[in-house]
Amino acid sequence: MSASINRTFGIAKAVASKDLRVEMRSRVMTNQILPFAAIVMVLFAFALDNDGVLQRVAPGLVWMATLFTSLVVVQRSFAVEAADSAIDALRVAGVAPQGVYLGKVAALVVQLVAFEAVLAFLALILYRVNVDAHGAVLLVTTCLLGSLGIAALAAVYGGLSIAGRGRETLLPLLLLPAVAPVLIGATRATESAFGSDGARVVEGWPWVGLLAVFGAVFLFGGTLGFGPLTDE
């Protein structure tokens, strides 16, 4: 049992390292996705050129941008697997799908958190939101758990989208409604961290608890379901 768990985590580590290496080499995240998100944030700053409005909507903008970016990141993550049928090779080889799934989730979380750090920084600069030390702790926790919830669900749908050829376009349709609870929880917690509309930091922690529950449920379900859902 313990050997099997170690094996699964070994596979997860290999898959996560491989995904991050592929991403760093392609530099799509840094050269294309991040600049696009930065431009969107700047355009919002121009469009809503009113400090009060920007501070109120900043948390929602950060998480909407994260959510839409996650679609691109997930599609890329699984496109790499589908390009030369590498995911089939893993499946044919009987590699534990739980390990593959956990590795995919880990790599997605790292990418999303890095992305959110840049977006939050831009929100601080462009939208002039204030974050104190307690707010920063809340914000970091929210980013970690929000990313986990999105990644845990997105990896399942990403796997499904390549298992059924030609269904890549279904990914947004499947994923966006399903992650709505994460979006709501993360936005509310971030509002508290940013102090938007007079929200206090302490009010954000119950939302963080909700994010933790969603993250755990999605991760557990994904670990169990990824293999059967992606198998032929």
Binding site: I11, K18, V22, S26, D84, S85, D88, R91, A93
Partner: protein, 218 residues
Amino acid sequence: MGETSVVDVRDAVVLLGSFPALAEANVRINAGELVVVHGPNGAGKTTLLRLCAGLLPLSRGSARIMGFDIEAERSLVRASVGFLGHANGLYLDLTAGENLSFWGHVVGANREEVTAAAVRMGLNDRLLATPVARLSAGQKRRTALAVMAVRRASLWLLDEPHAGLDAAGRDEIDALLRDAVAAGATVVIASHELERSASLASRRIEVVGGRIIEQGER
């Protein structure tokens, strides 16, 4: 020829929808053989290989691969069998060496085993450091075969392994497959090219219309 049967398929029927892609097939392959499954396109060669790889469910009959029941012990079958289809199953953005290293981590092979597999398949340092996307078709095939060696697969199932290769690349693959058999693997290749596969294999299985019509020495 050894008597240990690594493939034992009996009265197997595989239905794809309502179409019988394989009908009442009986196949027995012993350890250490290099067998070619020959037949025209659409004859059922790939179906037979995919059945043996644990990728297709049996509709009727029975099959034991490497001693494991194909239905009840599918994961054990997959872990001991290497299947190479039309794609190579490699990560194109990674180098050949990184692909092998990744598989080494996944299956728990150490660095020496990975290096030995690369050497066996003729992958030198320059090729190992080259991104797979920039390798030739033959070099990609050799990398995919090296992955099988890293995986320590005992039964190699190869679907048209010569497809897309020039004459030199085909000769290289033939030599590597003979080496794999000499090293203890059992190799089954599906091919519609009788001349080349006949010179390579010790035995031929003829498939037409989903039925095994002939099995015997080449």
